[in-house]
């Protein structure tokens, strides 16, 4: 597809369970970002990948959150021992990179709506 693809579109899980959220970036985009958007707020940065490595994970709220991008394309955001406060829309975005080659806008997927009951 032409855009950023995120699966699943909706995920309902029980408190304490483990979840994985998947992101397929635009082909050829080396930079990948995860954001989290709570109701009534703008997206908040979680983590940035340049290629396979996490160049900036300073936005991850705690060690229950982890993300990987083993082959420099698809990324998975993993949340352990989910809490009700983790409920939000998790957005993935990609852009042409790396930094130093000029700014390019982020292209977002439609997000995964996570609900922790």
């Amino acid at each position: 597809g032409a855009g950023v693809s995120q699966t699943p579109s909706n995920k309902v899980t029980e408190k304490g369970k483990y979840v994985e959220l998947r992101c397929d970036p635009i082909s050829g985009h080396t930079a990948l970002y995860w954001y989290r958007q709570s109701l009534g707020q703008g997206p908040e940065f979680l983590i940035y990948f340049q290629g396979t490595g996490a160049a900036d994970d300073s936005g991850l709220p705690n060690d229950r959150f982890f993300a990987v991008r083993p082959e420099g394309s698809v990324s998975t955001l993993k949340i352990q021992r989910t809490e009700r406060g983790d409920s939000a829309v998790y957005l993935c975005a990609s852009s042409l990179g790396p930094p130093g080659q000029g700014r390019s806008p982020l292209h977002f997927g439609n997000g995964t709506r996570l609900t922790v009951t």
């Binding site: 703008g42 340049q50 900036d56 957005l91 852009s95 930094p99 700014r103 806008p105 982020l106 977002f108």
Partner: protein
């Protein structure tokens, strides 16, 4: 610490009139600014951007103005159309280091409603 702030949660205008959406920022390291539009159940879509070396950028019906001394930017849409009804997010980034990429800091968003 809200570094990018959109003080108006909502704005309503008549079709054909001008829509003006405002955004303020506090971080003087920000040097690149963007506006995104978001429809329900979709991700934000890039609309227009401006570098801090400019004070205006225009693309069709959309114009972004940057006032660095006031740390303020605005998005003008003219003429407004009902299809423009969406949430508009202001975002900013700073080239702090090579590892920062194009990390964006977003405002809270403004819901624009254009009435026919």
């Amino acid at each position: 610490d809200q570094q990018v702030k959109q003080n108006s949660p909502s704005l309503s205008v008549q079709e054909g009139r001008i829509s003006i959406l405002n955004c303020d920022y506090t971080n003087s390291m920000f040097d690149y600014f963007l506006w995104y539009k978001k429809y329900p159940a979709e991700g934000p879509t890039f609309l227009i951007s401006i570098s801090s070396i400019k004070d205006k950028n225009e693309d069709g019906r959309f114009t972004v103005f940057l006032n660095k001394s006031a740390k303020h930017l605005s998005l003008h849409i003219v003429p407004s159309q009902p299809g423009d009804s969406a949430v508009y997010f202001c975002a900013a980034s700073a080239r702090v280091a090579e590892t920062s990429g194009s990390r964006l800091t977003f405002g809270e968003g403004t819901q624009l409603t254009v009435n026919p």
